[in-house]
Symmetry: C2
Subunit: 354 residues, 2 copies
């Protein structure tokens, strides 16, 4: 299954002490247990599932941000993302924020393919001892985010669950000729990002260290899917690939490069940084800008002569597009240019299970 | 949100002792907690959410088995259902069964509207200490069920979770003129069901009492969505309403009647009973046939002179359709005719949270 929308920085807040194993039903664990999910990590787990399922039923396979099902001149885009209380929800995140969040992260996948959303379903698993107001607040947050982005919740499911678990599924449409895939980047293309990076990571560090940087916490709790920007880029005709950087810029560059058969050189000083970074001096800036997630901006590659056109299209929608590097012929690793020196851009970000 | 696909009987197997409250993040519980989800129950919880979200964005609103989004001459049908390890999974259910199950219950909703499936997404939350083989088996079960019913898994999400949680979302298409809704039943119509009822409940009792009735356990673990039957009924032109009876026959009759503004009289002796019922003598037959769930058959109403045509259409697809009663003008309750006597058909089934 596609490696979609991983809330990098949020996850570090999960309880350090795992609950004792015997609280869970381990009837299915084999006695020898040669390989556990924590041994292989999330990306290999995804590969394992993909090999079982992927039989060319769908044009994009299972490795892009969305599934795409041909429907007349359009693709029906579909994406699903799960968040749950103990692995994704930092202390201080309200049920309203959770509702907003699950809708926003699912719309972000539609945005990254250039799609226009047509609705979402949300399955909610809630403990029976929770307040009715908790449920109402989640629904209000879901509704507010969906409506802000011109769509609505079409349905869902409500089940009893031991931990709060929200699973959104978003649907959208994009003309077949306009879809932006992860594959498609070519040597010589310009690499660009929408918005500012690092805001969500600043929110995480603000919460962790009690710094009270409210704007950054808002960025973390209530991300804004770049739907207008994605549609503008897709319609501009100059974007060659796109994905959202929910799991961090560095790891996203590697995912686009793997899908496209290219490499990238990123110029560190060009990365548009969220203003709040100046208040988080105790964390290396590269950790925040390159290896933290939760920003839900778009990473896009653009034809060599198309950047001005793409930026103008995004600006007309009220967004920002910043050039941060270029696509090069495939090499072993991606590069980071910083202070005039060429360094390794590491291929890392958060992985579930590890 | 729609009251979709509740696994009535399965739920009784959940651990009786809830985990202590302080293992969970209760930061959001208000100190006075006037109303908890366990106080209002699932159906009222669904009403609460629906009031917040339902603003006429979609033709069916939020109260049918699927959402329906107009797409040319068709409706795009979408449904989502969550199952999780500790509230839905009986001891003995393998990961392969879980994978099959989450696909089957989601396809059942498409079936009940007369739709043809075009794909599913499945979000999987898994504990990091689980075996890789566990994940592979889930994927194999998902894949097997999807392929048996002519569709495939289009994508999904894999996340770390403290309990196994699977959320499927199914998509399908149905011609606008052919969709079967919950509303549409009229006084005088015939009430019918596909297949046999009570098999899944027998499987539950077999597991609970160690009776080893393998065929019934199979019915419980691996339900078969009635897609061919649903499409045949929809195309026959004589079906006036339909839903799946995943949460039990009695409660489903009330849901169709509420949506249609009618009542029903069900003849107990006409209900087609699974053969395994003869082996579960210690449970009243009406509990199994009327008030247990997990069967995933279709409850359908048919125009007064259309039953032969509908049954023939279902038979051509290899299915069975049995007349079990009739639609009458709206009254306070539905009736059960048994041994020549008219009794109350109770409006009950499993509710989450209670």
């Amino acid at each position: 299954m596609p490696a979609r929308a991983f809330l990098n920085c949020i996850l570090y807040l999960k309880p350090l002490a795992l609950l004792p194993n015997n609280l869970f039903n381990n009837a299915y664990d084999s006695p020898c247990m040669p390989r556990l999910l924590r041994d292989v990590g999330e990306r290999e787990a995804i590969e394992i599932v993909t090999k079982i399922l992927d039989q060319d039923d769908f044009p994009l396979g299972l490795k892009d941000d969305c599934a795409a099902i041909p429907m007349g001149n359009n693709y029906l885009l579909i994406s699903t993302d799960m968040i749950n209380e103990r692995t994704h929800v930092p202390v201080g995140m309200s049920p309203y924020d959770m509702g907003w969040h699950v809708v926003a992260v699912n719309l972000s996948d539609i945005a990254s393919k250039g799609g226009k959303p047509i609705g979402l379903e949300v399955a909610m698993g809630l403990p029976r001892g929770h307040d009715v107001g908790f449920l109402e607040d989640i629904a209000q947050g879901m509704d507010a985010c969906a409506r802000k982005y011109g769509t609505a919740i079409a349905g869902g499911d409500t089940k009893e669950c031991y931990e709060v678990t929200l699973v959104g599924t978003s649907f959208g449409l994009v003309p077949k000729s306009k879809i932006m895939l992860r594959s498609g980047a070519k040597a010589g293309d310009i690499v660009a990002v929408t918005g500012e990076l690092g805001g969500a990571a600043c929110g995480y560090h603000s919460l962790k260290h009690g710094l009270d940087i409210e704007s950054a916490v808002r960025r973390l709790f209530q991300p804004h899917p770049r739907l207008a920007e994605g549609q503008a880029l897709s319609r501009s005709g100059v974007a060659t690939s796109c994905m959202d950087i929910s799991d961090g810029l560095a790891s996203s560059t590697y995912q686009v490069c793997a899908a496209s058969g290219v490499s990238m050189e990123i110029e560190f000083e060009k990365i548009p940084a969220a203003g709040e970074i100046s208040q988080i001096e105790f964390v290396p800036k590269e950790e925040i800008l390159l290896y933290s997630g939760g920003d839900y901006e778009l990473l896009v590659t653009i034809k060599p002569d198309g950047f001005k056109k793409a930026r103008a299209a995004v600006k007309r929608k009220g967004g920002e597009l910043t050039e941060i590097g270029k696509v090069v012929e495939v090499e072993e690793t991606n590069k980071l240019i910083r202070g005039g020196e060429i360094q390794l851009l590491e291929n890392r970000g958060y992985e579930h299970f590890r």
